[in-house]
Symmetry: D2
Subunit: 310 residues, 4 copies
């Protein structure tokens, strides 16, 4: 692949996709996110040899939001093992919005259907071990810092505070989980950890590196180090296909066909097995919570570069 040519292609597709931004809106329920310019669009691709391709706002920091659910799951699986984790959270897509509470009541036993919906991710946060919220958060931060090579990755305090203040629905989910016995330990502490890991700040380029580590089955391609087991990578990629794009995951799988996880700050992390990790940032969201221009850009890229896994 000719790097210069590839960068040009990326920029061309980015321009084509950026027109979609007008169809979406920045997330408004977290006031701090509502301040973003909806017309931004950046993409970064990390190849299997660590080469980075970029176009647009690839260096603009944004918060991981739901993308962080993949990394809290990795930590929880490494710390507790599959059996422990999947006794408390399921493996099934839901067909419901990411913040829905209905199935927590209707499905017996009362456990969240998967770790990508908010209820499931809160349950996962509850399984991350450590003596304090900070120590538990550090498990996630360490993983992200190691893969990206950026020791300064941390929490955006303004977004974290904004999120914490407006998190009534997530509190409802957490207390329901507590009532169901899914959540052990202190509810407020687990929520605090959840809000913090959602507010971890990264760039599209860093997200591309994270996606590449998943594509490489848990190996950091910069160093060749294994950072998490291949089995855990496989589980995450599967969840990215079945539940990664909220209740538009099925559509994205058909229309784009790459394992991906989105966040309401406008980020998307995509993973093309063995070949590449992709980070996208486009804060205008569709009604299901996915970056409109980001989804379009991945669709164009998947078609041009034949990235679909199906």
């Amino acid at each position: 692949m000719d790097i210069e040519q590839a960068n040009e292609q990326l920029e061309r597709l980015r321009l084509e996709a950026s027109g979609e931004a007008g169809k979406g809106k920045v997330a408004s329920y977290i006031p701090e996110l509502a301040k973003e310019d909806p017309h931004q669009l950046g993409i970064s691709v990390c190849l299997s040899d660590g080469t980075i391709l970029s176009a647009g706002e690839a260096q603009k920091p944004f918060t991981l939001q739901s993308i962080s659910k993949i990394f809290s799951l990795i930590v929880a699986l490494c710390q507790n093992g599959q059996q422990h984790v999947f006794e408390r959270v399921g493996k099934e897509p839901t067909g419901d919005p990411f913040n829905s509470i209905i199935k927590l009541e209707t499905i017996k036993p009362h456990k969240p259907l998967n770790p990508m919906i908010n209820a499931g991710a809160i349950a996962v946060a509850g399984m991350i071990q450590g003596k304090s919220v900070q120590e538990r958060l550090d498990c996630i931060l360490d993983l992200l810092r190691r893969i990206t090579g950026n020791p300064h990755i941390g929490v955006n305090e303004a977004v974290y505070c904004s999120e914490k203040k407006t998190a009534a629905r997530n509190r409802a989910l957490a207390w329901f989980l507590k009532d169901s016995g899914v959540l052990a330990g202190d509810v407020e502490e687990t929520l605090d950890l959840y809000f913090r890991h959602c507010a971890i700040e990264v760039t599209a380029e860093e997200v591309a590196r994270l996606g590449m580590a998943l594509a490489a089955d848990g190996v950091d391609v910069r160093t060749g180090d294994r950072v998490f087991p291949a089995e855990v990578a496989r589980i995450c990629k599967t969840f990215m296909v079945t539940c990664g794009m909220y209740n538009a995951s099925g559509e994205f799988a058909i229309d784009v066909g790459i394992p991906a996880k989105s966040g309401v700050a406008g980020g998307i992390m995509a993973t093309v097995p063995q070949r590449m990790g992709i980070g996208v940032f486009g804060p205008a969201l569709d009604e299901k919570g996915n970056s409109v221009a980001g989804v379009k850009l991945l669709a164009l890229l998947a078609k041009d570069w034949e990235l679909g896994i199906f």
Copy 2:
């Protein structure tokens, strides 16, 4: 009505009904309630001239639990008016268990269907005004003390603490209401008020007096004083018919036919318009949360004394 004869009748019916207790179980989700002897059964009837008839454990203190929802509603209506209250809580029965959260998400606008389910009663608690939780609680206590003539009515601290500790589901409901904009003010304070008014301790005799005040359209028959408006009494009696016995209200209306409100401590307050108030205490509950022997006793009494309103 010959008082002595009536007391004998009450005792006879009480004995007949008490056999039902074996079919139920004391509430277990509030540990303090689980300690009650399930075989207790007491009844008290307050006639329109203030005469009290009693049989069995009519002087045994128990906590109001959901019966208190009627009195928090009276206070909220008196303080805020119907319009304000019913913009935040509906008037419809639900067909769902009292602690269900599903309809909070499925029904638009997201307001609780009625003030007798937990979500609705928490919303009502949020409307009770005062500078502190204690001041807000006092509004309810003052009303109860005035009608019963017992200035010592207060909160059972052990039950309150037990309830507060195990109230994860109610917290989930409250935070959902907060998210929906139904609940203004501090969530924890409103929950605290809710737990406290549920833990107010009374006897069956006192409950009979409370029921008589409703039967007399808001007049305290001991003193002849009006304690709340007739319109408010009418609203409460209607809710007692359509939603007073959890999701067995329809069945109770057909099988017994008296406006009534039950609580999970085993109490039932029934109101025969103009004629009498009835307090029952029988802590063994059926699966919907109503006193099994209490329901049976009211059914027998309604038939013998022709108390049904339909």
Copy 3:
């Protein structure tokens, strides 16, 4: 009560209420009903001595629609007894729209929550005995003819055909009931009976007479004959309070307070125990399916004449 004066009062209230009609719409899902003039409003009151008061379109024929559910229930109860009937249909209000199918799946056992929603009424139709649909229908017609004294009461064929053609949702409900074992016998025959009894044509005056028979606990006040047991009348009146006005029953109970059953052709049958039956016809419906002007008129009348039972 001075008859002339009462008629004048009725006319005055009718005029006041008729302004509400503009806020509603005639039922459109049954094409034949969509042809009605939405501004019509008629009322008839049948007193306990058989005297009839009327104002407006009291002689205009309209179809019973859901009002007929009361009479199919009467027939089913008389033919099968309470135990048989209530093993197949519940006694609880639902909080859901009248044609909802959700609770048939979510509630175990899978039986309709009450006989006033469509699913419940179809289950009731399935219990009406006879060698043919016509014979089963005649059981209902005979009852209506006897009480009204009109031997010509019958089915409006145009409405019946219109209803049968557009009844996909009701077919879905019926087949779900078949699957759940609630509906024995031939599904299409039971649906046919259901569509036919919904399309029975009456006038507001006749509905008033039907309501009076319920008010008189099953006695036809014209002849003094008992036409159905008092126990059955009591059950019907209770259902009219808890579930008679679709998922606005709770609101109607509070705002008006009279047992009543509405139909989507714009009719309402109300019953003031011992005192009177009321028939209303006003085809413009609110979004829950109740006559807007009819509800208003009953609210005005209940207030003026103090008809509320609570």
Copy 4:
């Protein structure tokens, strides 16, 4: 791959998996299926050069049941195009049982979430064009006969009749779809087509050939002929991952990781892109409707032969 060795491996894994059969039950809701011996287990693998490997009951005829939903979808997509089809049926997994009706009412617009649940497949059947049910069925049969090279593939009449007689729930779904406008045309005819294509009889070997055609992106590897477009194959494989194994699809994707579609007669068709098609037959089902021994056998095979796509 050494064929003889591979056959031996298959037989060894088959024996290991067959012990699982005792944990399941044959489908009982279709009486004809209930007659099967639950201990059968057969597997056939079709390689990309057309070579067939087999073990156990690979020649035993069984009915496709839900596996046929893939082929009715292929026909519907070829006849109508993606836009037409996906306006009437969605692309999202549901988290609900295959015969659930709830989301048809709760999700707006009222269209089935995907073509793999019963409601979605009935909607798809409604889109298959032809002058008669037979002609519409022939579109599916022709496709199956062409790929398998077996011109005698047809409907098992006993199963079809059994299915038709006991299909109340599917009728409920179909009539709900009719009511929602999703289903055009005659409901009974579309149901008839649906029951017939579910009752098409095949062997595990034939299913393996069908799976290989999907693996080869729509090319029949026996003849080299393209039998359906690559784009359609891609869509089907994606649905097989997200919704192919009922509401255990997410779990299967994680635990096995091969696109697969199961049927309640105990069949599973799996597709390893480019490499192979797999047909399994094991009639003992788990509670979600998947062959217990079949799932186990695929899990063992996927691990041994490294077939997972994630």
